[in-house]
């Protein structure tokens, strides 16, 4: 071979993006807390102790207690399970239905594309919260219906991302080559298109995860999410509203939990995008 020597595999280990490290750490704290809550919480979550009601944060109750004397830290720990589970399953629903829809729309084009995208517009046209209120109003409030509502809202997001990126890939020569290899559009979508937009979808999933946390908190706040006695960050905020003047920790602590989780996930999403995008990576 007298061809010019091939470039050495230019995969030198670039340092991980700072946003991914910080975001990942914050997310890990929340996830670990939620997991610990399965086996241990400082107090029984439902243990009512009127004698210790509305105590400010102290060594006995680091996050204080509420008007029933329940330990706020324990409630937040168990609430994390609820928030993460709802958001995670909702992302799963969104990606599980949205991505295949987007891939199909890009592969088929024509009226299929038109149908999928107009259907998308229809879902998009309703504000997420309104959609959730409608669903829970019809099927009744509860964690499951909150999941369905948030998941439904996620579908068009993933459809759009998948379709847009897939459209670009369909004009690539390697896709044309796969077609001359007699592969069906479905097979090409699975073998060539999907793996090449995976990084994009992972980033989107991290962002939708964060959006899901906020949406779940919002639904619980208006009483349409997880029902008592299951602790939920959103409902804790709602209950704290009337007591904010003399027991601010009741609002601050769950608010902080939501803030940390969303920040962690958003930073992770940003960091993942930087990690996957070679252009950003080179500039660093």
């Amino acid at each position: 071979m007298t061809d010019a020597p091939a470039l050495p595999a230019a995969r030198s280990r670039a340092p991980w993006p700072l946003s991914l490290i910080v975001g990942g750490a914050l997310t890990a704290i929340v996830v670990v807390t939620a997991l610990i809550a399965f086996v241990w919480t400082p107090y029984e979550v439902e243990a009512v102790n009127i004698a210790a009601k509305l105590t400010a944060p102290s060594s006995a109750h680091p996050f204080g207690t509420d008007h029933f004397g329940r330990d706020v830290l324990s409630m937040i720990m168990v609430g994390a399970q609820n928030s993460l589970a709802v958001a995670l399953v909702a992302v799963g629903i969104g990606a599980g239905i949205g991505v295949p829809l987007g891939l199909t729309a890009a592969a088929r084009g024509g009226w299929v594309d038109e149908l999928v995208m107009r259907g998308n517009d229809l879902v998009f046209a309703f504000p997420a919260l309104l959609l959730a209120v409608m669903i829970t109003a019809v099927f009744g409030p509860g964690a499951i219906n909150a999941i369905i509502a948030i998941g439904l809202f996620n579908i068009p997001v993933f459809t759009r991302v998948a379709r847009g990126a897939a459209m670009g890939l369909w004009t690539r020569e390697y896709v044309l080559a796969a077609r001359t290899a007699g592969k069906s559009k479905t097979l090409i979508s699975v073998q060539h298109i999907l793996p090449n937009l995976m990084s994009l979808l992972v980033v989107q999933a991290a962002i939708q995860f964060a959006v899901g946390i906020v949406a779940e908190a919002g639904l619980s706040y208006v009483g349409l999410g997880a029902q008592p006695p299951m602790p939920s960050w959103g409902r804790m905020l709602a209950e704290a509203q009337t007591m904010i003047g003399f027991a601010p920790w009741l609002a601050i602590m769950p608010g902080l939990a939501i803030f940390v989780t969303v920040l962690g996930l958003s930073l992770s999403g940003d960091g993942l995008r930087d990690l996957f995008d070679p252009r950003v990576r080179r500039e660093r």
Binding site: M1, T2, D3, A4, P5, A6, L7, A9, A10, R172, E173, Y174, L176, A177, A178, R179, T180, A181, G182, K183, H192, P195, N196
Partner: protein, 542 residues
Amino acid sequence: MTVLDIRDLSLSIGSTPILKKVSLSVASGEILGLVGESGSGKSMTSLAILGLTPPRATMTGEISLNAQLISGASDAALQKVRGRDVGIIFQEPMTALNPVMTIGDQVAETVRLHKKTSRKEALAVARAVLDRVGLPAERFPLGRFPHELSGGQRQRVAIAIAIALTPKLLIADEATTALDVTTQAQVLELLKRLVREDGMGLILITHDLAVVAETADRVAVMKDGELVEEGDTRRIFTGMTHPYSQRLLANAVHAPSRQAAVQHDAAPVLQVEGLVREYAGGRPLFGKPKAFRAVDDVSLTIQPGESVGLVGESGCGKSTLLRAILALETPQAGRVLVKGRDITAARGAALKAIRRDIQVVFQDPYGSFDPRWTVARLVAENFHLLDTQPSPTEARRRVDQMLEQVGLPASAGDKYPHEFSGGQRQRIAIARALITDPAVIALDEAVSALDVSIRAQILDLLADLSSRLGLAYLFVTHDLTVVRAVTDRLLVMQAGRIVEQGDTAAVFAAPSHPYTQKLLAATPDLARNIGALDAAHKETVR
């Protein structure tokens, strides 16, 4: 008078040397052709002149412009030089212009950056410059946007921006490479005229020796960051001394030795009959939408072992025709018979069986592979066309065998496409096309993106495979030099129709259709130019 003088310019990025002691000079009114293959340092030299080297590059040596030292000057000082004293034109006319600014504003912007003038005065200058580059006011008002122009017209706007302030030095970095031959000829003519009129120096950076032979006064040949040979165009092309330049020239005119084994009496491997491919146009307010005929009633045949060239300029419909032949698009009328079976009508297993006999190699050695697949998996992809899939070990054995046939080590199979050079990738693409033992291979500009030395190797490989396997080729290309070297028969396409066809040698010798004549006249022909240079040389000696 010397406009540009470069002395011992060395440049390295990190510990990698990019340029090694390059010394060059350009006089006013002179055209210097700077040639070399990719990675030879041609473009980096021009960036160094403009002070636009990458941030981590370290540079030694001197660059002076008009006897004024500009190397090592501050960025602010260099900013004044760029655009005013040195103009540059890049390869890609599609991305060189700002899509949301009118052409008038873009030319005027350069003027106002360097001269204190009112917007009105700047626009008047822009108008005059656009007139000079052949974009007259009646057809090209200042309010036009780049997307309303063709590639050649955009390149004229880029030239207008570069010459707006009558710089002393103009750099054209592969400025005509992306253009069609007829447009290229016009743009080169324009550049020559501007150099003559303004007395500026022009550095014409290109990989195309034919263009240089036709245009340049002096030639400098670069290899791996070094200047290997420099001199008068006439002397360089009639008596190159450095082995690398000799090899470069030999590769540029390389014609692989072919044992033509065309079976004229056998049944054709590919028959296209009355093919029509239309695209729906924009729907007017009233009436029926107008259809655009990309391929208009095209018929052609290819015999076993025959090599056929399909040439035409961009937009003539050759790519659409190719996609229709490969059943990647459905034609509105006509048939495509591969070994007598209609590929346009076939579905399912029948279509797969036909696809086994016709395969394709695409232009872009970087875009034609899924970056996440190993080479072995990519080459084996076409096994999908077989009725019974070979076992994994058997498939791997056949892939390795095929990789060796195209001149790659069998160990290549475990690597990823990005680990290979452009030429090696094109070999992988050929292996992928060959794995089902096809009768005809379509080559869609398959050697256009390659350097001349690698192009010569790939053409040799194709010729060798054809004589060993009795393969037929359909070369779809805009490059007449390649077609002349490797095809038996030639089809010339214009506006969706085949306007001329015949034996390659005969068409080149006596083109009958006016379009073919125009195309051939516009094509820079190295052999012809060398002949002319040689004659002129003898004249002067006498």
